[in-house]
Amino acid sequence: MATLIVVDDHPIWREAISRDLTEAGHRVLASVGEGRAALAAIRRMGPEVAILDMQLPDLSGVEVLRGLGEDCPTKVLVLSASGESADVLEAVKSGARGYLVKSASAPELVEAVERVAAGDAVFTPGLAGMVLGEYRRLANAEAPEGHPSLSERETEVLRLVAKGLTYKEIAARLYLSHRTVQNHVQRTLSKLQLHNRAQLVRYAIEHGIDGGI
């Protein structure tokens, strides 16, 4: 059982998601429709997982994630109907642990929440494609401060995820353990988040902003 907060500006969605998760045996502490209220509720109640919509009336999903900061124990799963991949990628770089489209079925959602609560990253093929694309973009941008890169094995694993193979199928194909596959995937995400944080800090220093991040 995990404790949860649901953040979505559509009341009907909040209800549907909360019901599915409650029926699966999880405890929904609160469901809120605005970004600032979400930040306050997450800080006060400290749920294990927050399910976050990208489009909120006051703050964007990315702003909520940045507002939580890196020390926040709550893990965030992004749920988005927008199809705006740039937003989703930004959210994942800002610390989200996974991404599901809203059309995902109830069992898929429950499974994703449980995996995020257990500390795993939830990679859909769509997200794997974006992360692969982002590493290539960073490599081609030739940034002066260097860029994160994937090992050959990590690239291989990520491509298979993007092509729709399950972790089990990948493990079988590459003769790896399920856990090793999971670790490879996890690492591709954490390297990207680390790079993103370093860039934000560098930006803040260059522009003379203190303590804002």
Partner: protein
């Protein structure tokens, strides 16, 4: 500030400057003027009128009454100057010169070229009559006044029309932006509801599941419509491959792609998209209906790669070569043909029971990536 207001100010300035003409001429010929005291008074009166009319035009606009009074005063000044500015020993008196054009300019700007021409003709006609009939001086003055009325009236209309068109274009732009914003908002909430219907429908089952499936298809096609719309903009002869593939997105087809546009020259992008469509047709024709497909779009500096993977029954080893030998590989050939025409490569990999993978790699500039199609991956 509108063009009319700016012209009004310019004319006020012009009239003041033109005042210098009678002032300087009278001062130079003061000793030979027949009526120096009256001449001084007339110049003072003209200057006073110039000041008041300038003020009134700029602050009250071109009122009809004021325009008529201005023209009357100008005509009166012409008549008076013919007698007051008389010079001893000369047949023609000193002229008020370019100052006369002030009223003509005001009429032209306020009422257009026809009124400008009429005002110019009146002022010139009166001048000709009272200043000793037609002479080289009065004739050239008349021509200049009429032409001034014509040209300034014409240019003013052109300026005003351009200003209106500019205003309309700006309004249209603002309206288009607002429509776009509204469309985005509406699309977003429609997408949410469609996704919700799909989700609840599937959970309830039966007929509701069918409704859910339909809602899901609509959601996918609407979403690809929005995204391809926004991808269409910045592309100087190039197309975003993601936008072209977006229409395949459906329950059974998952698309994975970078978050930034994947650009190819328009022809190459369309050929590649057509090759992908063939590969998807192939899956539909040869695999059971429950088969799922994943599209992966990858972009590195030299090439664009699209992989089509299905989880169908796969192709027995040798079947491919066999079919090719029998000339029965229509679809595979159409994929191969399109991709090789672009200087690219196709790789087909299939394991019985584990589906089929078709990898299409197209170089950014033709012929550059021959030989390294599979390096580093």
């Amino acid at each position: 500030m509108g063009i009319q207001t700016q012209l009004r100010r310019a004319i006020a300035v012009f009239r003041f400057a033109a005042l210098g003409y009678p002032v300087v001429l009278c001062a130079l010929m003061f000793d030979s003027l027949a009526r120096p005291a009256l001449a001084f008074l007339l110049v003072a009166a003209i200057a006073a009128w110039t000041g008041s009319v300038g003020y009134l035009y700029t602050h009250r606009g071109y009122r009809p009454a004021l325009l008529y009074i201005d023209l009357a005063v100008t005509v009166a000044a012409v008549i008076a100057s013919a007698w007051v500015f008389a010079v001893e020993g000369r047949t023609t008196p000193v002229s008020v010169g370019p100052w006369l054009a002030g009223a003509v300019l005001a009429w032209a700007v306020a009422r257009g070229r026809r009124s400008g021409v009429v005002a110019g003709a009146i002022v010139a006609g009166v001048g000709t009559v009272f200043r000793g009939g037609v002479s080289e001086n009065t004739f050239s003055e008349a021509v200049l006044l009429v032409l001034t009325g014509l040209m300034v009236g014409h240019l003013t209309r052109l300026g005003v029309e351009a200003e209106e068109r500019l205003g309309q274009a700006a309004a249209r732009n603002a309206a288009a932006r607002e429509r776009e914003r509204l469309a985005r908002d509406i699309h977003d909430s429609v997408l949410q509801v469609l996704a919700l219907v799909q989700r609840r429908g599937n959970a309830i089952g039966g007929e509701a599941a069918e409704l859910g499936r339909l809602a899901g298809e609509q959601e996918a096609s609407l979403r690809s419509l929005i995204t391809s719309e926004s991808y269409r903009h910045p592309l100087d002869g190039q197309r975003d491959v993601r936008g072209l593939l977006g229409r395949h997105s459906a329950d059974a087809v998952t698309i994975a792609a970078p978050a930034v546009p994947v650009r190819l020259p328009a022809h190459a992008a369309h050929q590649l998209a057509a090759a992908v469509a063939s590969a998807l047709d192939n899956v539909r024709d040869h695999c059971p209906p429950s088969t799922r497909v994943w599209l992966l779009v990858e972009d590195d500096a030299e090439s664009v790669t699209v992989t089509v993977r299905d989880n169908g029954p796969g192709i027995e080893p040798g079947r491919l070569a066999e079919a090719e030998a029998e000339g029965r590989l229509g679809v595979a050939q159409s994929i191969e043909g399109r991709v090789t025409e672009l200087g690219g490569k196709v790789a087909v990999e299939s394991v019985p029971g584990q589906g089929t993978e078709v990898e299409m790699r197209v170089p950014r500039s033709r012929g550059r990536t021959d030989g390294d199609a599979h390096s580093g991956r």
